[in-house]
Symmetry: C2
Subunit: 350 residues, 2 copies
């Protein structure tokens, strides 16, 4: 019976490029504001951070989309900036403005003060959430753990908040490459330890979000982002808990560097919607699974259009093993949940 | 003496892939807030729109960077949204928020009310600026005229302002394709007439900014953006004034569709910094000139780093004809003008 494929394992099988009974699907930010039940729990929590830092509430919202839709994976409800917060930078959220750090990195001297947090102490709330979610899922679908990439963390750590062009962090990288590499090395060690701890706590797949890698020219991307993604992959391969846990890397917008990303040692690549999956697959071959890549805006169109566009993505990938369906970016708050049901059914062919 | 190459013609020669004495360079948004003399004129004008709509002031700021630096082209100081403004949508600027329209397009019925503006009446202030600038340049460097692309205009016309994800305009395109094509057809005819009139008024090169084409998946890009860029190119080829005026197309972020863009009939392609020029050139061959592609953030680095990164872009393109050096996006207000001088000298090899 080892080859039975169903909702409990088709996601992990697709990550390993094994045959599946239907293309697995999950949705970035699937536990989010488009769901009324999420908004209710978020209201009860009082703030986004309280929601993310209370294991029972994080567990509750993680399970909501999996209970409502026939999704093939759950993803830990958390934030990509937990690691620099645990380093002492003081993460907080300003309503309508996104995440900010109270003590951003502004100099090479600031970098030397940073240490690698112990996941089971300062990030214990995340590990508790992983253990609880894994227990509550009761094997229905696998659980994905995640972290921000070293470069993307550095973007927020140096800018102190989001940015349109990330000019400050780029100037830091160009003018103080040694300090930047020290920061990225610290981040890579911290992220690797954090992901390994999530695997030990029960995460069955791991994902690294390199949200701002695509802002870099290819040579800088290779030097300041991809190199550290490869270090994380190598480090996880040597960890007793993470060794067999598939790693997904998503560098949004870094489509010029897909080959480089496929060589980092990850099992799967997230792909945004600005490139077709058949082009992506032609470039990276079958050495990695591809995850993506419907434009999130498609969910604002009619069910008929959603079904057509889902089919276009499935056709783009073609009849090969190794496709996990997803959006090319997170789902937006204005989406009608009924449209998500249409998408999931269309992917599964029902 | 027809083959003498100097500052007055090396830009136009490079656009035609003829040999040049040095790689020509200009900078997107070169007449902008990073220049103290620009800020002084802008202050006198009272508002951005007053500056853009007063030919004498538009001329003044257009010439400022050409007088300060050894740039090889001037570009008309104007805005990409002049055409929908002339259609009656009511362009205005809210400080710190960018452009907005008072009467955005919200339905198929709104689309049918739009006409093609006569450039010499409702856009007369632009034509007067072109004539004046051309006169004041006295042949020192060529003048580039420009317009927004049909798709990018539609983005602002339907959203009513800028957007992070342009979900409203994408949903309109997906749900009401006939109305969207009618809008894009009107925009394409209006832009072609506008560019032809700029050529008649003295513009020596023309550029179409498809600032938001890169937000589209490749199939949608082809259907809703590239097709209308090709129509503009075809229309200009049949115009007695524009026929011999080189056309540059810049679809920021649409790097998956470079081949499609090279087939629109333009003479040159703008390229952003997320792909190397040697990759771009390998894909489009020598049928178009490439314009780009230094990351604008590089100008925040030290002169030494600027020189190294300029050389990297020059080396990426290699020793072929058909390169116009530029940034991969507009220069930002925080750049030290001295750094622009460093860049220009580095490109020219002095």
């Amino acid at each position: 019976m080892a080859d039975v494929c169903n909702r409990s394992n088709r996601f992990l099988r697709a990550l390993r490029r094994q045959p599946v009974d239907a293309t697995p699907v999950w949705i970035m930010r699937q536990a989010g504001r488009y769901l009324p039940e999420y908004r209710a729990t978020r209201e009860r929590a009082g703030s986004f951070l309280a929601l993310a830092q209370t294991p029972e509430l994080a567990c509750e919202v993680t399970l909501q989309p999996v209970e409502r839709f026939e999704l093939d994976a759950a993803i830990l409800f958390s934030d990509i900036l937990t690691v620099p917060d645990a380093m002492g930078l003081g993460l907080h959220f300003v309503e309508g403005e996104g995440p900010k750090f109270r003590r951003p990195i502004r100099s090479a001297a600031d970098v030397t003060k940073l240490g690698v947090p112990d996941p089971e102490s300062s990030l214990r709330y995340v590990m508790d959430a992983v253990r609880l979610i894994r227990h509550e899922l009761r094997g229905r679908v696998p659980l994905i753990g995640f972290a921000g990439s070293p470069w993307t963390l550095a973007c927020y750590m140096i800018e102190g908040e989001g940015s349109r062009d990330f000019a400050r962090v780029k100037a830091f990288a160009l003018n103080e490459p040694a300090a930047m590499h020290k920061l990225l090395d610290t981040n890579a060690r911290a992220v690797a330890a954090y992901l390994a701890a999530q695997a030990a706590a029960g995460a069955q797949a791991l994902m690294v979000f390199d949200s701002w890698g695509g802002m870099l020219a290819p040579a800088m991307f290779e030097e300041f982002s991809a190199r550290y993604l490869a270090r994380i992959a190598a480090s996880l391969r040597e960890d007793m808990h993470a060794r067999d846990v598939p790693l997904i890397v998503f560098s949004k917008g870094a489509n010029a560097s897909l080959e480089t990303l496929a060589d980092t040692g990850c099992e799967a690549l997230g792909v945004d919607w600005t490139i077709t999956l058949d082009t992506a697959r032609r470039r990276v071959g079958d050495r990695v699974t591809l995850q993506g890549n419907l434009d999130p805006a498609t969910l604002l169109a009619s069910p008929k259009v959603i079904r057509r566009e889902v089919q276009r993505v499935l056709d783009d990938f073609g009849p090969h093993p190794g496709h996990v369906f997803n959006l090319g970016h997170g789902i937006t708050p204005d989406v009608d949940p009924e449209h998500v049901a249409v998408l999931v059914d269309a992917v599964h062919g029902v």
